[in-house]
């Protein structure tokens, strides 16, 4: 059958590859991406495998490449990711050259960086010295005058005042001063001044503000103490000469040295820049090449060595339709290396469970993801994703039905789909955007069907349209209308209120949408629609189980399990659907009893009474039943349906017992009979209860549709209506922001929030109500060795 109906056939193959051709062959297979390799050495640890040394070399290369990339980013150069024209894997000889190139580049960059940092450090020290020399000028001139003054007073004091000069961080100055005061008992004199320009630490890159300080003290003891404090506060001390001329000379020398140093720093920076620029062009390619090589060696570690040691054996799952591609990959691999002995592959028969592979294109990928999120299908099981393409957007649209909101959603999906290529290039990391973009086709279809159901519900931003002309006309005359005390009148279909012989041809009549009692009509209509679609969806699900029984050669299950299940569902719930259609068809406003509106029964009450074998109450002049022989028909239906229950319970286990026990049946092969009985009892109870519970569960289609319509109406009535009913020109100005508020709320609440809510409920309906009727979903997904997947994964 066509794609997506069930998963593809898989073959287990053994590849016999010559060791010298192994690398190129695996590279070819990685490019195509259709083989899932199995680990043939599970008992070995990562270090005991054959190609561990190569993997380690790859790790080294990756480290070097990452270092170079970091240095490039530090210098502000961009490293772009490659998305197309991905480079192929180099052969082993080029691989060694590449290794040497990486080594050389890394060493060069390391050396240059170290030198550069050293130079910056020197530059900083010299700058600090310069500031010390400049600022202390003012301190010393004051000090000299003070000193002169005090010297005149105390002739006996001949001790020189010692001092230390240096630079300390601004935040530490106050603490520094306090400690000095304490340790010297007030005998240390500290002067400090701000340095305006901050210093950048070359290692960390952070900025610090620093101050110049000079500390004056007497005696050597204090000197040692002061020096210790300076060391504790990481203050750098600089030798500062006492008198002015020496300081001036020193300052001039420092300035020249600073100039020279600046020149050297700039030259070093230029050289580093040149090296990095020359590397930056090739770096993205190298990153990809290194990742590919590492992936190849990891895969080769899964291989086994042949007994004779002459070739490598690999086992892999390959889709049967792609076997020829693998064959050509093997031949290409051998040809590239020029090997004389060809590699060959061998398909082996196996009882093991193959992986599930659904070949999807970008349209079907989204829907397949929805199903796989619940559970990956068993091998060759019927794939529900094929039907989900339409049923999912349609059930969503029943809940979301609004023409205006549908248009918005459709346009959003259309934009994403038409600018697909451009948006794919952007490779955004935003998770939420990626989720929306991944579901672009789903959103497109949801919007399209929402427009259709919006037209049927005759609801566009909570307003209705009269396209074909209403089928209701006013039968009252003017005085009745004007003299009416309640302000409302109800049109009676039994009178002249209906246009003769005509129903509104497409959708709900606009007269209904203007009515104050429209909810009564809509509830009845939407509830019936929900049950009708629910029963149809579930019958479809049960029928899908026949597809599986037929394929897996369990044809006995068709009679033992499918037939009672479908009979139970159809005889009870499809009969209820029939009653709904019959009531719509038979009872009409112009008919005589027993088919007049007064005699129309409640379908639900009839259903309940049918199950309970009870009687229906009916008003005078009407009949108990809707059509002749209904009582007999219902009796037979219920009896047969009740007989289906023991049929489901006993049929399969008895059959297994009679056909000689547990031989030859796939998943019940090794089970004892007691297990089979218990399983069958559970399945039967589950199925019977679920028919009722799931049918009621489909009423959420009605509930969400009602909520959406009401929210939409409230938003219009409470927000936009206020703007539209303003008078005068001021009203125009007020309308502008009110429209803005209405638009924002429409998008945020009605499109986004209701959309997500309806999406979730539709998903639940599919996963639980539909798929539980036939889906097992305990398979594992096909994960081939493909460079594209590996590279995309590592991007995250």
């Amino acid at each position: 059958m066509g794609a997506l109906f069930r998963s593809e056939e898989m073959s287990l193959c053994q590849l016999f590859i010559q060791p010298e051709a192994a690398y190129t062959t695996v590279a070819e297979l990685g490019e195509i991406g259709i083989a899932q390799f199995r680990d043939l050495n599970p008992e070995l640890s990562a270090f005991q495998r054959k190609f561990t040394a190569e993997v380690r070399r790859c790790d080294e290369m990756e480290r070097k490449v990452n270092y170079i990339k970091k240095e490039l980013i530090k210098d502000g150069m961009e490293v772009k990711d490659l998305f197309y024209n991905l480079p192929p894997v180099p052969n082993p000889r080029e691989f060694i050259d590449l290794e040497a190139l990486f080594e050389k580049t890394e060493n060069e960059i390391l050396e240059l960086s170290e030198n550069f940092n050293q130079l910056l450090q020197n530059f900083q020290e010299l700058t600090e010295l310069r500031y010390v020399l400049e600022r202390t000028q003012s301190f010393f001139s004051e000090h000299v005058s003070n000193y002169e003054g005090s010297k005149a007073e105390e002739a006996g004091e001949t001790q020189q005042l010692g001092f230390v000069a240096g630079v300390i961080e601004r935040e530490k100055v106050l603490g520094f001063e306090r400690i000095l005061w304490r340790i010297s008992r007030g005998n240390v004199f500290l002067r400090h001044a701000d340095i305006e320009t901050p210093f950048t630490d070359p290692k960390t890159g952070r900025e610090h503000h620093k101050n110049v300080f000079v500390a004056f003290f007497q005696g050597d003891q204090l000197k040692t103490r002061v020096k210790k404090v300076c060391a504790g506060y990481h203050a750098s001390l600089y030798p500062c000469p006492n008198n002015y001329e020496e300081r001036d000379d020193m300052l001039k020398g420092v300035m020249t040295r600073l100039q020279d140093l600046t020149m050297v720093i700039n030259q070093t920076k230029d050289q580093r820049q040149r090296v990095l620029v020359s590397v930056s062009k090739d770096l993205p390619k190298w990153i990809i090449i290194v990742k590919k090589i590492k992936a190849i060696y990891h895969t080769m570690n899964l291989f086994n060595i042949d007994v004779s040691g002459k070739c490598l054996i690999g086992e892999c799952w390959i889709p049967t339709n792609d076997l020829h591609l693998v064959q050509s990959a093997l031949t290409n691999g051998s040809n590239v290396v020029g090997s004389t002995v060809p590699s060959f592959m061998n398909v082996i028969a196996t009882n093991e469970n193959p992986p599930t592979f659904n070949r999807t294109n970008r349209f079907t990928q989204g829907f397949q993801n929805l199903i796989d999120a619940f559970g990956v299908a068993n091998y060759r099981e019927a794939n529900p994703a094929l039907y989900t393409i339409i049923t999912f957007p349609f059930l969503f649209a029943i809940m979301f039905g609004d023409l205006g909101h549908g248009i918005i959603m459709f346009l959003f999906g259309l934009w994403m789909v038409t600018s697909e290529k451009k948006l794919l290039m952007q490779k955004s990391k935003n998770e939420i955007w990626n989720i929306f973009f991944g579901g672009r086709y789903i959103i497109l279809l949801m919007g399209f069907f929402s427009m259709y159901t919006g037209l049927i519900y005759n609801d566009c931003f909570s307003k209705t349209m009269n396209i074909f002309g209403s089928s209701w006309k006013i039968a009252y005359n003017e005085s009745t209308i004007m003299n009416n005390t309640e302000g409302q009148l109800q049109l009676n279909p039994s009178d002249d209120s209906l246009v003769e012989g005509r129903t509104y041809p497409f959708g709900l009549d606009p007269a209904w949408m203007l009515a104050t009692n429209k909810i009564i009509f809509l509830n009845s209509f939407k509830m019936k629609v929900s049950i009708i679609f629910g029963v149809v969806h579930m019958i479809f699900g049960v029928i899908m189980s026949v597809v599986n029984y037929n394929h897996f050669r369990r044809r006995s299950s068709i009679i033992l399990e499918f037939l009672p299940q479908i009979l139970f569902l159809v005889l009870l719930f499809a009969y209820m659907v029939f009653m709904m259609f019959w009531k719509w068809f038979r009872f009409s406003p112009k008919s005589q009893p027993p088919y007049s509106p007064g005699c129309a029964p409640s379908v639900l009450i009839y259903f309940i009474n049918m199950m309970l074998f009870g009687e229906n109450k009916y008003p005078d002049g009407c009949e108990e039943y809707m059509f002749p022989y209904q009582q007999e028909v219902q009796l037979y239906f219920v009896i047969i349906a009740l007989l289906c229950i023991p049929w489901m319970l006993l049929g399969k286990p008895l059959f297994i017992m009679c056909t000689g026990g547990n031989k030859g049946h796939g998943d019940h092969g090794d089970e004892p009979m007691s297990e089979i009985w218990i399983h069958q009892a559970i399945h039967t109870i589950e199925y019977v209860l679920n028919t009722i519970s799931h049918t009621a569960s489909y009423l959420r289609l009605w509930a969400l549709s009602l909520a959406h319509a009401q929210l939409s109406e409230v938003l219009w009535g409470m927000v936009l209506n206020i703007g539209l009913t303003q008078s005068l020109y001021v009203g125009g100005a007020i309308l502008f922001p009110i429209f803005g508020a209405w638009a924002v709320l429409t998008l945020a609440i009605l499109v986004m929030m209701e959309g997500l809510s309806a999406f979730l409920h539709t998903l639940r309906l599919h996963w639980v109500e539909f798929m539980s009727k036939f889906y097992t979903g305990t398979g594992y997904i096909f994960a081939p060795f493909h460079f594209k997947t590996i590279l995309n994964e590592e991007e995250d």
Binding site: L4, I389, Q490, P493, T503
Partner: protein, 88 residues
């Protein structure tokens, strides 16, 4: 009742759901296209049918405001029946 809308819409969705799948383009995705068309035709037709049949024989009528009734009478084409002359 008028069977004309019934015929028209069944024909439209019949073309979508029955005729188009037969002439679907050959290719690896033929099955998917056929399935999509059939399901679209079937679900849309069923939904339209439910809406049409629910309004075919209405058992109650809409309750309308005075203003709405007057506007409906004026804009949607049916003039109100004239008051009979009072005879006293």
């Amino acid at each position: 009742m008028g069977a004309l809308p019934f015929i028209i819409f069944t024909a439209i969705f019949g073309v979508i759901g029955i005729v188009l799948p037969i002439v679907a383009p050959k290719g690896p995705n033929r099955g998917i296209v056929q399935c999509v068309l059939i399901l679209t035709g079937a679900t849309c037709w069923l939904f339209w049918l439910c809406c049409y049949m629910a309004q075919m024989n209405p058992l109650i009528g809409p309750k309308l405001h005075q203003n709405t009734i007057l506007i409906m009478a004026r804009e949607w084409g049916n003039q109100l029946p004239v008051n009979p002359e009072p005879h006293h």
